[in-house]
Assembly symmetry: C2
Homo-oligomer: 411 residues x 2
């Protein structure tokens, strides 16, 4: 009589992206001639930059030589990568992060899904709504929610509406919460948090002894140097925030897999007796027990992102996608659609035409325009009435998609 984890039964349908893949697959099978343009999952489409390819190739060759054997790597990542992270992602923006505060991993999806394990099951969670489904789903699986309501929201989780009225960057709540997931530049709304918004969050978190989980997977897409790239640019954030970064979008690593999480040494949680415990130690223990570091060639490839050629080449890729985002934003706006985001993020957040539901809009886009978007409601109840359109595709496909969307929804 082996009991299952019954929290899994509370989860709504499948995880969002496999569900989209399933529906697109069905449509495609029934309509083999349809030229489908995928602006859904947000997967990169440009080939790996030459500096990355070279790093992967040369690390593979190195591992084939007697003098180049690399077995189990250091638990939190090789120094050559961690030092590059501290230098380029932080020191270059005036932020000091120590090497023992960086934990290299195989993805921000994993990190943002696993981080909840180091906190108590009774912790109260808040997410902005809409948000990346992994934040909520992993807490539901861990038993930090009640059942789902009709709109897909779970009892016991606090949802902070991200709306047009607050520029899709909600302020801190009135009530205390233990853990808050924030994401900027935001997935899915494509918005970006201001210095003021993040300052308010850090102040609130310190007042309430709460922990912020700051997902900065899209930081490379910020176009304005004055906007915060890291939560640690906000004073006091070292005492209240964990930050996650990824190479997936900034360097085309969705099929290469590398990311990292920063847990400052000052950051603490408490036991039921009120003892303060260093969260970096807990995360280190979690990773040492359940993870085994990232492939050596992949860490070499991630380090190559920081080489002069790597920086230039990946910046060109980011610029290419951001030009797509601008075209989507302008093209759809000019056609009268309500469009947000896409200025500092590779996502455009579009109101569904005529106020139809997100999934209906997904269906219309797929069946009539052969364009795949992601239903906003898949990211939370407040995403209902929106669709996320990704800028990750070729220029040609993006232009064709804009033309098709305009044609279908004005006809």
């Amino acid at each position: 009589m082996t009991r299952i984890n019954e929290n899994y039964r509370k989860l709504q349908a499948g995880y969002l992206f496999p569900e989209i893949a399933r529906r697109v697959g069905e449509f495609s099978a029934a309509n083999p001639d349809a030229k489908i343009i995928r602006l859904g999952i947000g997967d990169v489409t440009l080939p790996l930059a030459p500096a990355i390819v070279e790093a992967l190739r040369s690390a593979a060759e190195e591992m084939g030589r007697e003098t180049g054997v690399h077995g189990y790597g250091p638990e939190s990542g090789y120094d050559f990568l961690i030092e590059a992270i501290c230098e380029h992602d932080y020191r270059a923006r005036g932020v000091e992060i120590a090497t023992n505060e960086v934990f290299v991993s195989d993805g921000s999806k994993q990190d943002s899904g696993n981080i909840q394990e180091i906190f108590g099951t009774e912790s109260r969670i808040a997410v902005t709504d809409p948000s990346y489904p992994v934040y909520v789903d992993t807490n539901v699986m861990a038993g930090r929610s009640g059942n789902a309501r009709a709109d897909g929201a779970y009892e016991g989780i606090l949802y902070l509406p991200a709306t047009e009225a607050n520029d899709f960057a909600p302020p801190p709540p009135e009530e205390p919460v233990d853990l808050v997931y924030l994401c900027s530049p935001n997935n899915p709304t494509g918005s970006v948090a201001s210095q003021e918004n993040l300052t308010a969050w850090v102040r609130w978190a310190r007042q309430n002894d709460s922990v912020l989980i700051f997902d900065a997977a899209y930081d490379a897409f910020i176009q304005d140097d004055d906007l915060p790239h890291s939560i640690y640019e906000i004073e006091g954030a070292r005492e209240c925030a964990i930050e996650m970064r990824s190479y997936s979008k900034r360097a085309g690593f969705t099929g290469v897999r590398c990311a990292y999480t920063v847990v400052p040494r000052q950051l603490e949680g408490t036991t039921s007796d009120g003892e303060r415990v260093c969260l970096a130690d807990l995360w280190s223990r979690r990773q040492a027990t359940k993870f085994n570091s990232v492939p050596y060639p992949v860490q070499r490839a991630a380090a190559a992102v920081y080489s002069p050629e790597g920086r230039k080449q990946t910046a060109e890729q980011v610029a290419y996608y951001m030009r797509n985002a601008a075209l989507l934003r302008e093209g759809l706006q000019a056609a009268g659609f309500g469009v947000f985001g896409g200025e500092h993020a590779p996502y455009v957040w579009m109101k569904t035409p005529g106020g139809i539901s997100s999934w209906d809009c997904f269906g219309e886009l797929l069946s009539r325009a052969h364009v795949v978007g992601t239903p906003g409601s898949g990211f939370g109840a407040c995403g209902e009435g929106y669709i996320r359109i990704s800028a990750f595709n070729s220029r040609e496909n993006v232009e064709e998609a804009i033309a098709r969307i305009r044609r279908v929804f004005s006809g």
Copy 2:
């Protein structure tokens, strides 16, 4: 007041291998001239086989071409790898595993650590003692144990002594248990389970509606074709067992990272209402939510293990390590030490000379012979009085280590 997961506080000291690394590092810093031979962690020492290097290199180059972009991969792995697994690891031994029962991952440590998540917190766990620390530690972290006793064992977990008397392959317990972790060829004892032993386990698991978690990470080291390589060679195992395999040791992937888990579609758990639930569906949901597949070049490299050259080259590496194991076994036995294992596994399980404790023996070996072993007690209370010696090193180092151990402990 963000509460931590207090189950972490029950964990004993650090995770075993980082703790060994720490002690070796301290010794090494204090004795910079000591030529340390590492037979501890069990990390491979031969360079990657040419077929593997070629697969990594060509996949990297492919990803740099417009026609070779590979972003997010299929959730459970690419078909080219899964089909090779089904064909070579199973069909070749008369076992039918369907492609939707195979879940490719970045390591058996991860899989054996994560699998417990799909089961209820109230599940009762059994492990053979000694065993790979991840099985117990991850269940302690999840709250499936009480506190640790003085000998390091946790209240609430059932330990099944693996002793000389039962050939280090304990039979099923009298009492019912929900989940049992088995490992063959065994880490750390180097023993291998017989057909009869596994048949008894499968029969017991089906009678008790229990789930067996069968870790076959070392299957490639079995030297006798009549011994079971997979638990699915035992009739009825599809109804009661999950199996894990790894490329880490069989193909030198400790720094490349690839493994897989098989969850047969027939295998079920129950809800508190008695409803039967397919465990493969739960594991699929877990992986889709918290994992993002293995790097494309790594999956190509794993598939190359099954190519004619890959099979030949990796078989030669396994043979090299197994010759080391034979030398260790024979050399230490001839010198009068009590030695087990090492016939179908790359580990030799040695009684500590004079019955000293495992950690004392570790310390003696390190300080006097400059040889690193792994204290048996780090794998469980029944490992006390033993030390694990790994065959993963050069022939020269293994021979030198044997000579030093003989010298130190007879002097």
